[in-house]
Subunit: 532 residues, 2 copies
Amino acid sequence: MSRGLRGVAKVCAPFLFMAGAVLTPNWRASAGQTNGARVSERPAPRAPVWDDRERIIELSERRARVAEFVGPKSLLVLLSGEPRVYAGDVDYKFRQENNLFYLTHLNQPGVMLVLMPGHTKHREVLLLPRRSPAAEVWTGRTYSPEEARAISGVGEIWEAGEFEPFMRATRQGRAFKPRAESILLSANTAPVVSGSPTGNETLLTAIAQDAASLFLLLPSETESREFRREQELAGRLVQTDTGLTVRSAWPVFTRLRQVKSAAEVRLIQHAVDITAESLARAAAIAGRASLEYEVEAEIDYTFRRLGAEGWGYPSIVGCGPNATTLHYTDASGACAPGELMLLDVGAEFGHYSADVTRTLPVSGRFTPAQADIYNAVLAAQEAALRAAKPGATLADVHNAAADSMRDSLLRLGLVTERNSTQYGIWFMHGTSHWLGLNVHDVGQMGRKLEPGMVFTIEPGLYFRADALERLAKRPEMSKFVEAVRPAFEKYKNIGVRIEDDVVITADGHRNLSAAIPRTLNEVESLMNRVKH
Amino acid sequence: MSRGLRGVAKVCAPFLFMAGAVLTPNWRASAGQTNGARVSERPAPRAPVWDDRERIIELSERRARVAEFVGPKSLLVLLSGEPRVYAGDVDYKFRQENNLFYLTHLNQPGVMLVLMPGHTKHREVLLLPRRSPAAEVWTGRTYSPEEARAISGVGEIWEAGEFEPFMRATRQGRAFKPRAESILLSANTAPVVSGSPTGNETLLTAIAQDAASLFLLLPSETESREFRREQELAGRLVQTDTGLTVRSAWPVFTRLRQVKSAAEVRLIQHAVDITAESLARAAAIAGRASLEYEVEAEIDYTFRRLGAEGWGYPSIVGCGPNATTLHYTDASGACAPGELMLLDVGAEFGHYSADVTRTLPVSGRFTPAQADIYNAVLAAQEAALRAAKPGATLADVHNAAADSMRDSLLRLGLVTERNSTQYGIWFMHGTSHWLGLNVHDVGQMGRKLEPGMVFTIEPGLYFRADALERLAKRPEMSKFVEAVRPAFEKYKNIGVRIEDDVVITADGHRNLSAAIPRTLNEVESLMNRVKH
């Protein structure tokens, strides 16, 4: 169930940006905070600490579950993400490939993980670029083998240069032994068992019998802009006569990552808390900003200042008509009094993304027309929240929102038939997506909800100025267009979305973003407390 | 010649972030501003306005110069940059390929420019994706043909779908005519000259004679992470028996872009002005920040709030030992009193990057050891600035800096021989690089300096804690190591770089970042005025 607002304090904090009076987003603080009190510099709570030992146990368990899926006759290879070019020799900030991160927590290019569940000694091997003091003068230090082991818990670490010879040998069904100087750390110093020179006989026998598999993160499209090296690796295998079949590693990651551990939920909660603070600061300056990017700057600034990596997706800040573009990321437009400002933003913390939307009245009060639409979206969200519980599916959640939308839109004169797909003209996107390491996280859509699943609930209504004009071009729509035109003229250029992040619990769900003002009254009250 | 500081005002601005007293970086404002005066909310001056007509004339002239290089028997093709994957279905913010931007100012994926200098009608053609109302609901509006023409000045605009058939026909030396419905805008409505169905006879004849060229931005490496589609295009040509030789378009762009127009210098100046404000804000909070990323957040925030696209390269904020890593972008370290904070930052405005470095004493005063190093770097920079004038080369500028470094390092006991390459142990990078659309802009290194060339002057000295230990491993260095060890121990963990951006003028140079406090006294004075 959705939780309401517990308490909002208004403070005069000389160190907070902009107005003398700025809202503290520490909405969870108990009431009774007095105006003018000096609040903590960081209203978002402290970052969660994940105990080293607990993290290593959890990472090992994740690898064990993947190994179980892969089986003793196969191997799995994960490669680090590639740095992406910004321009010339400048790269964007590096982001690790999610599945490698999920199994190792290593956040550096050039790392590779190999799981060989049938190996008698090295069920898991990490490959690490050899450190270069000359390179570290330029770009800073890279993991030592000891650090990589301490972070990931993987005990066997080879130099990255062993990867190609290892793969070549495996492709050819040959035993492989890394050069002694390339074994940076060894998990097992026991002498080699006589007659078992590699410990990998199960895999080699399977290759000989044409019954082995190589699991890779294959891209979904052939012309992919990521997972290109995986594709190359697969391509080379296809060209070789080998007993190794290339298979996609996505199913196991999709299944595992769909259910979050307690530690993962804590990380997402912190990303949401940082996002909450950014929305409070946005609300505080919304009335003063003349251009969208000023508000966007404030949000991204709050993310970074509080230790988030940055955004999980480019912030969407759209005023007036721009609120009707779903993924509007230009933020170059003007904000005028009387308009709505749609903020769809999410910090990324510890690789996990938040994803929250609030729609604020720039001048502090919704107009009657804006309020009609806002309350219709809110009612749909409330209905969807009620449907979010174990055993249901995301389709149930969406249908609950859609049903509510049908009622509201019929009442407002924006559809002519309740039981039709007409509502989809104004509410043209799904209600939910999984949330985690990706903002649109992996997960099977039809799977029944169970504790630990995290997803968004984000109905919206959008009345683009050209919507009827576009519909009118389809002859079968002419009756509909004429019938809804009066209502449309009233709501034209309004865009509203309300989005929260929930985690399924044993008996329902917990709204991770419940502390952020959400109802019409809460939002107006917030805007008026912080306006200046 | 380098200009000194003209005037710095300290103000109490309730709307400025952090301390009650915040420096206005409006350093160019005439002196006499009184303390406590309310300053403009935007100390960086207003963004320069580039008159539409003037811009179109300049873009046309650039295209004409490229066309002259390409010649009538050839064609040149430029493709938009590709969006880069952040994670899953989230892309980083789009950045246009610089050369396409240089000739069109169009900032959208999917655009292509074709120059055919020998064509009797269409010397230049822009190809634009057809607008999709359905897609625009999701990601916002894209250029209409009229907008694309108004921005770029290119009159002939075809739908992007014509590109493949056009290239196929050209490869095969066949005449090509776009489908009528794909001609979105036409520059020339005159009837087709009889017997001249395409107007491209010069090119087609050259192809038939094996004397035509296709100019493309070919990547420098075969396994490039950009210009991949150009590479594919070239690859397809090589596989076809065609009279079209693929040639690199880089030489003409390298030559043209190396000399900036007045309009380009204005854009770079504004990027520098925004960077100046960000450095002032960094100075104001340096003493309060406990972690580097808080300062980085402040800098990036200032960039965005003032309308810059963001950074031209990831901000480098390194405290203490981290200042000795040249391209340190982690910003995860702590900042302690008594340490230096190295800030190497540059806003990107209108696609042009600034690139300025200042090294600040966190507590407001340099220690004697820090001052020794700071003044050595400053003297080298002054020497380099004196060498920056028409007719000299960047090698002359670097040699001037290196000569000064040799003197200082010998005096400080950090080298044993003045006339050797020993100075390079502590000053291990070049003094200058070209600056423009890329932070490390294109340009020929040996070319004599001429008015309009823009580059950085950025000497530095870095004493990494492990430097002597690494040198000691080379036996021939043991005498050197022992001789400089006492001095090294004194300066260990200090890193200083001072960097300004200059444009060559008729009689010398103008320092675009001269207004930012730079000498030891100026920097200490700044830190003490703004500290809190």
